[in-house]
Structure formats: structure tokens, C-alpha cells
């Protein structure tokens, strides 16, 4: 019984009042994913709030403070499944000071849903969210033009917004953009087709999510295997076992392949591969496996196994896009810990090339400060070299976090250019 049902991870973004929580609530409710006891609970709260109808947004707004303020303040993960696919939703906050949460939600997403209020059209927030989706290299963007019921389901209004969006998104690095006119409140084109918009011949939101192609997104060419830790056994029936545990971040590996161990650059061959079901002859991303080598080398956490004929770059200086994630501000000259894959090195931010003004997405080259939610292009000097690819080519080996040595907080996240 091997089901080939796969997983689509998507993130949702929109301004505070665009109806994002209502849209997700509608998606879950109409696809029959919400258990009756939760429906009853939310109905009771809705009545207590004096509402005539069930408030769908309550299905996703979880924490106490959010309920009180009526806004989402942290990434919340939701799960649902249809016959076709399983879905993991990273529901992220929409307003400016929580840019960092949107970056977090977008980091593991295959697709992003951007919400636009049909009455307001494309606003600054729409540009910001699309920009972040592009920065994080999300391949698919689904633009839901919501509250169509409030503009009389007007076709012209829909096309006007599509044109406005395309005007600015032409500059972004997004492969695939689709537009869907919806009313989350009434359920038009979310799960069910609507009779209100006969002029729209495209798919519903759920159908679109079920049919996006994600298989091609995994890099199956460049083998990269960051070592999490060695596994050694030498007792009982298992003698002299020494393997390296890790997750294949990209590519394929086979028994007999010539391997180079970074940073030492020692060469060896794959002796055996242990998958989750036992010994295998080959393995591929994103499997968790252990690899035994023919030579007895000094391999520890932070090392990376690659193929001799396909190697990442050895970098001691990197240029990267950085998103500052912490209230603790950037201090020039302060050394941070840079964590890339399972490896850590000390790092110094040498220069800030520019900081994006998130109001208009213009580059501000005079800005030398970094505070929470800033996105900037920076140069970093590393205490010892790392082995990396550009984020564009390989998300796993092209991404890093900066940790403060004293507070232990994750301060910033970066993507290598």
C-alpha cells in the first residue's frame, strides 16, 4: 500500500484586514476538515461576540493575545488533506512589524498565497509580501483577490488589479503567478465554484493547490550531505561500525560513489548506505540516512560529504541578503556565530551595502543600522571558510542564521548571493 500522495507546504500573507484567517477558515471548513466539536466551540464564541454567523477566522487565531487584539501575532501551522495531497499551511501575520514571521513561514514553503482586498487593490503590503516571497525563492504565487462580493463581483475590477500586480511583479523572481477572484466570507472559488462570477473560467483555490507541481523543486543534481553526527558501534554482533548520520539536502548518492569530505578534502568511496528501512544501494534528497565510507577518516558534525566532481564554493567572505529578526539591534564590530547547515563559524558583518526601505522597496545606501524586520544586503567576513552554494541554486547550503554568542538568540537569517 504505497500511496504516492505528497505534501504541499504553503504560506499565507495579507494585510491585517484582508480576511486571511477567514480564507483559511473557509478552506478548512468547506473541505470538511474541521471536527464538529471545534465548529460548535467557535459557533459559541461567535454568538457570545454578538455575531449572526460563525466567525471562520476563529479556527486559526489561536493565542489569547491574538483573540483579544483580533490579529495573528505568530506563525501558526495548520494541516489538512484531500484525496490528492496533504497540505501544511504556515499562517503568518500580515502587518509590518512581523516581517520576520513572514520570512519564517516562507522559508519552507513551496507556494505563497497573497491576499488582496478587491476594494483596495494592490497596496504597499502586497508589494512587500510578494517581494519577500521572491526573496525566499518561492516558485508559485497564488494571488487571491478577496472580498469580490463587496465590489459586486465586478470583472473589470478584477482585471484592473491583475494588471496593477503584473506591473510591479515583472521585476520579481517568481516563476509562476496565478490570480483567483474569491470571497472568503461567502466561499466563492475557495473550495467550490461560484455562480456569481461566470466570467471567471479558472480553477478554484483548492484545485490550484492540489495541482501545483512541486516534485521538480528538489535539486537532484548536486549531492550535498551535511553530517549531523557520527554513529559508532563496536560491540555484540556489530563490530567496528562507523557511519555518518545526516539528511541529504540535495542530489543522489550511490554505493561506490567517489566522495570528498569537506573541509579536509579527503577522498573516499561510499561503502554502504543505511536508509530508514535498512541497507540500500542509493538514496536521494530529502532522505535521512547514514553513510559508511571505505576509508577511516576524521569526520565530525559540521563536515559535508559531496562528490569529487561536483563541489560547493569555498567562501571566507560572503555577500548575502540578511533579514534582521531580533529586537536586539546590530552592533558594528560585534562577532556573531554563523550557522550554515550543521556547521558553525564566527562571523563579522563588514559592511552594509544597502537596506531596503520596506515602505517603497527602494534601496537605501546611506543606512548603516539594522533593526528588527530590516532586510539588507551585507558583506560578511568569516573566521574560517564555509562550503556553500548560492541560495538560488540550493536553499539548504545557501542559507544561514546569525546567533549572538552572549544572548544565544537567533538575530538574523541570511541568503547567500
Amino acid at each position: 500500500m504505497v500511496e504516492m500522495k505528497d505534501i504541499l507546504r504553503f504560506t499565507t500573507a495579507g494585510s491585517v484586514d484582508d480576511g486571511k484567517s477567514t480564507l483559511i477558515g473557509r478552506l478548512l471548513y468547506d473541505s470538511g476538515q474541521i471536527p464538529q466539536d471545534q465548529v460548535d466551540l467557535v459557533r459559541n464564541i461567535s454568538i457570545r461576540k454578538g455575531l449572526n454567523e460563525i466567525d471562520l477566522s476563529l479556527f486559526t487565531d489561536g493565542l489569547k493575545d491574538e483573540r483579544a487584539q483580533g490579529i495573528t501575532i505568530d506563525v501558526a501551522y495548520r494541516y489538512f488533506a484531500t484525496e490528492k495531497r496533504k497540505f501544511i499551511i504556515a499562517d503568518t501575520p500580515g502587518h509590518l512589524q512581523y516581517t520576520r514571521n513572514m520570512v519564517t513561514g516562507a522559508s519552507t514553503a513551496n507556494a505563497a498565497i497573497i491576499l488582496i482586498d478587491a476594494r483596495k487593490g494592490v497596496v504597499e503590503q502586497t508589494r512587500r509580501h510578494s517581494f519577500i516571497a521572491s526573496l525566499l525563492q518561492i516558485r508559485h504565487l497564488i494571488v487571491c483577490i478577496n472580498k469580490m462580493d463587496l465590489v459586486d463581483y465586478d470583472e473589470k475590477r478584477f482585471h484592473q488589479i491583475v494588471a496593477d500586480f503584473q506591473d510591479f511583479s515583472a521585476k520579481l523572481a517568481i516563476v509562476d503567478v496565478q490570480f483567483i477572484p474569491v470571497s472568503a466570507l461567502n466561499g466563492d472559488h475557495v473550495v467550490h465554484r461560484s455562480n456569481q462570477m461566470p466570467w471567471y473560467q479558472g480553477a478554484t483555490l483548492l484545485y490550484t493547490l492540489e495541482h501545483l507541481s512541486v516534485a521538480s523543486e528538489i535539486n537532484q543534481i548536486d549531492f550535498r550531505f551535511p553530517v549531523q553526527h557520527p554513529i559508532r558501534v563496536d560491540q555484540g554482533s556489530v563490530q567496528d561500525y562507523r557511519a555518518y548520520a545526516g539528511k541529504i539536502e540535495s542530489g543522489i548518492v550511490r554505493v561506490g560513489d567517489e566522495i570528498q569530505v569537506l573541509p579536509g578534502k579527503h577522498v573516499s568511496k561510499v561503502k554502504s548506505i543505511f536508509g530508514m528501512g535498512g541497507k540500500v544501494l542509493e538514496a536521494f534528497a530529502p532522505q535521512s540516512i547514514s553513510i559508511e565510507l571505505t576509508e577511516d577518516l576524521d569526520v565530525s558534525r559540521g563536515c559535508m560529504l559531496v562528490k569529487s566532481n561536483n563541489q560547493p564554493e569555498e567562501l571566507r567572505q560572503i555577500t548575502a541578503m540578511l533579514c534582521w529578526m531580533s529586537p536586539q539591534v546590530f552592533i558594528p564590530g560585534r562577532k556573531y556565530i554563523l550557522r550554515q547547515t550543521t556547521n558553525e563559524v564566527k562571523a563579522l558583518i563588514k559592511s552594509i551595502l544597502y537596506v531596503y526601505d520596506m515602505e517603497n522597496l527602494k534601496r537605501d545606501e546611506s543606512n548603516a543600522a539594522l533593526t528588527c524586520n530590516d532586510i539588507a544586503r551585507v558583506e560578511l567576513q568569516l573566521a574560517s571558510p564555509i562550503f556553500a552554494d548560492s541560495y538560488r541554486n540550493n536553499k539548504a547550503t545557501g542559507s544561514f542564521i546569525l546567533i549572538d554568542e552572549q544572548s544565544n538568540q537567533t538575530l538574523a537569517v541570511g541568503m547567500i548571493s
Partner: protein
């Protein structure tokens, strides 16, 4: 050969990665083992992650003293079979020390004081991280959990001040006295867990499967009859064909009427059912945010 993983394989690969990160980043992590299906699955995944070596984590059972005898028997046999070290943290001991107080009143239970025993046990055994079977789909406060979830020196969770967790770069660094909770199966749903149990042929306590039991009907809940249960006037005693969907303290784990006696039948039942997993947990019913409140105090 197709170079693709189905959803269970992808979730398994992710969980194993998280377990290996926990081993690499913490000094002395334990697995919170309740004898319930989620902690059994986490322990099973740990065995796979480190094979052919032994599971490098101690199993810690926070024992309210109000257990199903079936759970305890399973727990001991399971630990022996997995060749894992098992230690206990007894709520009874916390009550004797007077660091915890027994609840009083008609709905008294030891669910809340478990948090105190957990923190005391972690300190006395020197654990700096506790790996649990918590899943984000269980409850709305859990939907916001990180894989590596920080706890301050008092074991408290601060949901408004969680550090960013991005890609799969987990930061487990901490100050003296602080701890982490680690949730390898965060992204699994209840159905995923059962489908994985079916695929891997994992043994479970008999309580999960339909059996005859002396029960107490109380309002909309069915509870197991036991000496731990404080009787109510309106209680109705009856023999029923039931199974348990979650297994915890006997006084709060609600039973459900069911004829499902195999994992396959349970999966079928879940697909047809329209009630959430914790819908029967008396502890979650105290208020709409009771889970969040308990988590802030140090609950798993």
C-alpha cells in the same frame, strides 16, 4: 526508480533529522514517555535514527499515579524491548515534598501538577531538553510551537517571544538553567501517526483497541471506572464496548464507544469520525485557552 518521497516518508525523514539535531545540540536530552501512541512513535523513530546504535536518550515517564495498569505494563516491556533506560518522575513525590498540591473539588485531577513534577525531574536527572510527541494539529496553542521550543529557567514558555526558526536551522543554544522542548513529529497529524503505526507495525497498549470495560458516564464523557475517580451524584455506571483515543491520567482520559479492534479499523474510523482528538480530554475543557495557560507554566 522514482526519486520522490510520499508524505509518510517525508515526515519520517524530517522527524529523524530533528531527533539527530537534538542529540547533537544538547548535553543530556530525554524522551518524555507517557506510554501513549505519540511518544511510542517518537521512540520508534529514535531507534531508527541511531541504529544500529542504542537509543541515546533516557525515557522519562511523568507518573501521576493514576495510570491504567495496561499502560504501566506496556511501558516496562517496551523499554526493555527497545533496550532503553527508563526513569520515573512521580507526582506523588512532589505532593509529599509539598512543592505541588493535590487539587480538590469534584473534578480534581493531577494534570496540572504534572508540570511541577516534570521540571523537578528534569533538574534532578540533569536533562537539558525533553523530546515529546506533541503535534501542532492537536490544539491551537500547539499550532505555534517550534521544533526546538525554548523554556526559561522556570520552565516557562513565552509564546510572544519565540525566537525565529527558519528553514531547518535549529538554534538550541541556551543560558545556564534554561531548557528546550523538542517536537520531532510537529508536522504529523493524528491520521499520519496511525498510518505510520500501520506501515511500521508498531505495537501499542491494548487500551487503544476496542474492549469491554466498566465505565462511568459523566455529562458527555465516558470515563474508565477506577478507584482514582471521585464519584459524582449524577454518574451513571455501565459496561461498554470502548477504546481510548488518547491515553493519560485515568481520571481525565475519555473513552469512546468503538468496535475498532485493529489499526486498520481505527484508521477507517478516524476517517469517518467528526470529533477532534482531544475533544474528550477533560483537562482541555476548563477554558478555551487552558492548554496555552498550562504550557506557559511548563506543561509539555
Amino acid at each position: 526508480m522514482s526519486y520522490r518521497l510520499n508524505y509518510l516518508e517525508e515526515l519520517e525523514a524530517e522527524a529523524v533529522f530533528v531527533l539527530r539535531e537534538a542529540f547533537a545540540q544538547f548535553q543530556n536530552p530525554c524522551i518524555l514517555f507517557s506510554g501513549g501512541k505519540d511518544s511510542i512513535v517518537v521512540t520508534h523513530l529514535a531507534a531508527k535514527a541511531f541504529a544500529p546504535a542504542q537509543i541515546p536518550f533516557t525515557l522519562l515517564h511523568i507518573d501521576t499515579g493514576h495510570n491504567f495498569p495496561e499502560t504501566l505494563q506496556f511501558r516496562d516491556e517496551f523499554a526493555e524491548r527497545m533496550n532503553a533506560r527508563l526513569v520515573l518522575g512521580l507526582v506523588e513525590d512532589s505532593i509529599k515534598r509539598q512543592t505541588a498540591m493535590e487539587e480538590s473539588g469534584p473534578n480534581a485531577n493531577r494534570n496540572r501538577v504534572q508540570s511541577i513534577t516534570l521540571l523537578e525531574s528534569m533538574e534532578s536527572f540533569g536533562f537539558d531538553a525533553a523530546i515529546g510527541g506533541g503535534r501542532r494539529d492537536e490544539e491551537k496553542a500547539r499550532a505555534k510551537e517550534r521544533f526546538f521550543s525554548h523554556r526559561d529557567a522556570f520552565g516557562q514558555w513565552d509564546p510572544k517571544n519565540q525566537g525565529p526558526e527558519i528553514w531547518h536551522l535549529f538554534n538550541g543554544r541556551k543560558n545556564e538553567g534554561e531548557q528546550y522542548r523538542v517536537f520531532p513529529i510537529s508536522n504529523w497529524t493524528e491520521l499520519d501517526v496511525w498510518e505510520y503505526i500501520e506501515k511500521e507495525k508498531i505495537d501499542l497498549p491494548s487500551l487503544y483497541f476496542s474492549h469491554n470495560r466498566a465505565c462511568v458516564k459523566r455529562k458527555d464523557s465516558i470515563l474508565a471506572q477506577s478507584s482514582f475517580l471521585v464519584p459524582h451524584d449524577a454518574d451513571e455506571l455501565c459496561d461498554l464496548h470502548v477504546r481510548f483515543r488518547t491515553i493519560g491520567d485515568m481520571t481525565i482520559s475519555g473513552a469512546m464507544r468503538s468496535n475498532a479492534s485493529t489499526v486498520k479499523e481505527i484508521i477507517q474510523e478516524l476517517k469517518e469520525m467528526n470529533q477532534s482528538e482531544r475533544g474528550n480530554r477533560a483537562d482541555d475543557f476548563r477554558s478555551e485557552t487552558s492548554m496555552e495557560d498550562r504550557k506557559k507554566e511548563g506543561y509539555f
